[in-house]
């Protein structure tokens, strides 16, 4: 079973992501902010990380950069959840090392579509 780390400081978002992905047969680990996400990523090996951008205690971009410095996470796909799809956001996301981005709010089918695509 593939393990997905979902990092978001909004409980609503975490619950939604976890519900959608667990319903599709994935195992989901949750973290409330970047710092906790880094801890969780360290403790468990994940096949995919989905992280929010704007969070207290380490934002999403910093988390992506930190993960990319870890040996185990050099090649693990990382998706950024974002409220905007501006060029600026994309440039920052790409520079940090993220694999892709997903605009919120998203519908469950889209989330699943992206996840399946990057995990394939």
């Amino acid at each position: 079973m593939k393990t997905i780390l979902a990092v978001d400081d909004s409980a609503t978002m975490r619950e939604m992501v976890a519900f959608v992905l667990e319903s599709a047969g994935y195992r989901v680990i949750e973290a409330e902010d970047g710092a906790q996400g880094l801890d969780r990523a360290n403790a468990t090996s994940c096949d995919l990380v989905i992280t929010d951008q704007n969070m207290p205690n380490m934002d999403g971009l910093t988390l992506v950069r930190s993960l990319r410095e870890m040996r185990d996470y050099k090649a693990v796909p990382i998706l950024l959840l974002t409220t905007e799809s501006s060029d600026n956001m994309k440039a920052q996301g790409r520079a940090a090392g993220a694999t892709g981005w997903l605009v919120k709010p998203f519908d469950p089918a889209t989330l699943l579509q992206v996840v399946q695509k990057v995990l394939r």
């Binding site: 978002m13 959608v20 993220a98």
Partner: protein, 589 residues
């Protein structure tokens, strides 16, 4: 995959509530002049988070309004403009409107809410008028989404929503909508609420367990009593099992009661806003200091405590704290302090509300007391004199304000607290301040009671009101024509209250045993309650009369005794209030 988003709505409502409380708290920090960029960031993130969630569930008005709020704070946190008093006012007003709106949404109301449009307008004007005019920025539109693009984005985001950096050119959705904004996001410091080690349970479920455990305790007591009548020492095994059952039942009861306990945080958290509103209305500067947030108290008491405490705090600001000019003239710091402190002491919770204001004014109390026909003079000690404040109709406020003088005086505060089985006292020093101390039991569901009897009836007196018991000598009892008889207790004369009169038993002709007197004291008023005999003391499960039957005058509730009989719990305050004498011994102590 069809997923009903509604299953997450409850989480969103809780989260929105937390965010709004956090915004409120941060707004007041802003007002206190703290220049911490993290405050602006936190407000921005909270607004952003609510916006995101609202969008997900289609709460358009909330999404729109939090969007303009977010925009304003994005500007402020980037140093374009400065948050001032008006910003704080707008923020607090917005929190009120948003809270009311969320409450509407919770009930399923989805119609347009005009107050939301109004507050959105205020934010929109504010962004332009105040923050940006201070330091107009060229690139404001680049960093903050404009109204227009934002609302289009809601629709756009649904159709074109993701991309992978590897296959950027081939990404299916790269269209003009690209420049616009997607919707959801999140922030705000997570609270303990989301800890994995906790679950949410409805209060009804807990109350049902509390109730069942209460029944269990009663059944257990009945069993013990029934077995006690037989020669139980015959069966050592049974005796042992029974004492194990007794211990486990009590532990279970305590454990269940602890579920109902809530930290004082729930009470304290609403006061910063109250203090802010009241003090700014009165043109005073007040700092609120709270401590003992983690002190736990039964949920029911927590809820009933809010009104009396609100009144006491309003009083402290209105009557206690002086105007900034007066304070400076008196050599005090311009900003007054109101303190709220909660601690556990024995089986009680003590809540102190203190202020460093002008203190109680003896002369004014004496003058007002005389006006009301309450005996008072300069020779009275502070403790005695200040007790007068708790008399009905007493208020030294020169004029009725819409803050403190809402027809509710300290007498009502005391009555409310007494009804909860607690007490209120006051201490004050002129020019230095006042401390109101409220003592409450930890819970209303169980109480330690003294079982007494008169004729063949048994009644319960809450143990906390019983000061002592004694057998009066005939010589100590004095009958005064036209007044209740008195009994002398170590030089003090207490009015005698006969239990049979309180419970209105028909007069009997049978000879009665020699009576016993219990000295009962509530709110500093003492009386001697005359009963036939004392049966013993016991921890009792309180059953509400109102819930199960109807209110009975003079009774605070009922319980079921070990022998299965129902016994009424006396409302001691109801008779000490009328006949009790003030505890002079204490006043002069």
């Amino acid at each position: 995959m069809a997923i009903d988003l509604n299953r997450f709505i409850a989480t969103f409502f809780d989260e929105a509530q937390e965010h709004l409380e956090s915004i409120e708290e941060k707004a007041m920090l802003l007002d206190s002049g703290r220049e911490d960029p993290e405050i602006l960031n936190a407000i921005f993130r909270a607004a952003h988070s609510i916006k995101g969630g609202s969008g997900t569930f289609g709460f358009t008005q909330l999404a729109e309004a939090t969007h303009v709020m977010e925009t304003l704070f994005d500007e402020l946190r980037k140093g374009r403009g400065k948050a001032d008093k008006d910003t704080v006012r707008l923020l607090l007003d917005a929190c009120d409107v948003f809270k009311a709106h969320v409450a509407r949404l919770k009930t399923g109301e989805r119609g347009a809410d005009p107050s939301m449009d109004a507050i959105r307008e205020r934010f929109a004007r504010f962004t332009v008028g105040s923050a940006q005019s201070d330091a107009p920025s060229q690139d404001a539109s680049a960093s903050a989404p404009t109204e227009e693009s934002f609302f289009n984005a809601v629709a756009a985001a649904r159709t074109e929503t993701f991309g992978l950096f590897d296959d950027e050119p081939a990404t299916p959705k790269a269209t003009g909508a690209q420049e616009k904004f997607g919707f959801f996001e999140t922030p705000v410091p997570a609270t303990g609420k989301t800890e994995q080690s906790s679950i949410r349970v409805s209060v009804e479920k807990i109350d049902r367990i509390v109730n069942l455990v209460g029944e269990l305790v009663i059944a257990q007591a009945m069993m013990q009593q029934a077995l006690g009548k037989q020669n139980s020492s015959e069966d050592e095994h049974l005796t042992h099992s029974l004492s194990t059952l007794d211990r486990n039942t009590r532990e279970l009861q305590q454990a269940v009661m602890s579920i109902r306990m809530m930290p004082m945080e729930f009470v304290f958290s609403r006061f910063p806003r109250l203090v802010y509103d009241v003090s700014s209305q009165l043109g005073k500067k007040v700092h609120l200091r709270t401590s003992g947030h983690e002190t736990e108290l039964d949920k029911e008491l927590i809820e009933l405590l809010i009104d009396p405490l609100t009144h006491v705090v309003r009083n402290a600001i209105d009557h206690g704290i002086e105007s900034p000019q007066d304070r400076v003239a008196a050599g005090k710091p311009e900003m007054g302090t109101v303190g709220m402190r909660a601690t556990h002491r024995g089986g009680s919770v003590i809540i102190e509300v203190s202020d460093d204001g002008r203190g109680l004014d003896r002369e004014r109390i004496i003058a007002k007391a005389r006006e009301l026909g309450i005996p008072a003079d300069e020779s009275m000690r502070d403790e005695q004199l200040f007790e007068i404040i708790f008399e009905a109709g007493f208020s030294t406020a020169k004029e009725v304000t819409n803050l403190s003088g809402r027809g509710v005086g300290m007498d009502v505060v005391r009555r409310n607290i007494t009804a909860l089985g607690g007490s209120v006292s006051i201490a004050s020093a002129k020019g230095e301040g006042t401390v109101i101390t409220i003592q409450l039991p930890l819970t209303l569901a169980v109480l330690d009671g003294m079982i007494v009897s008169v004729a063949d009836e048994q009644y319960i007196i809450p143990l906390e009101f019983v000061a002592e018991a004694f057998k009066p000598q005939a010589a100590d009892i004095k009958s005064v024509v036209g007044q209740a008889s008195l009994v002398a207790v170590r030089g003090e004369h207490l009015p005698i209250v006969r239990l049979e009169d309180v419970v209105q038993l028909p007069p009997t002709v049978e000879p009665r045993p020699e009576p016993l007197c219990l000295v009962v004291e509530v709110d500093n008023r003492r009386a001697a309650l005359m009963v036939d005999s004392l049966i013993g003391q016991q921890q009792l499960v309180v059953k509400s009369l109102e819930t199960n039957l109807h209110r009975v005058g003079g009774m605070a509730g009922a319980t079921i005794l070990g022998d299965g009989r129902v016994a009424l719990i006396l409302d001691v305050a109801s008779f000490t209030r009328n006949v009790g004498t003030r505890n002079m011994a204490k006043a002069y102590a």
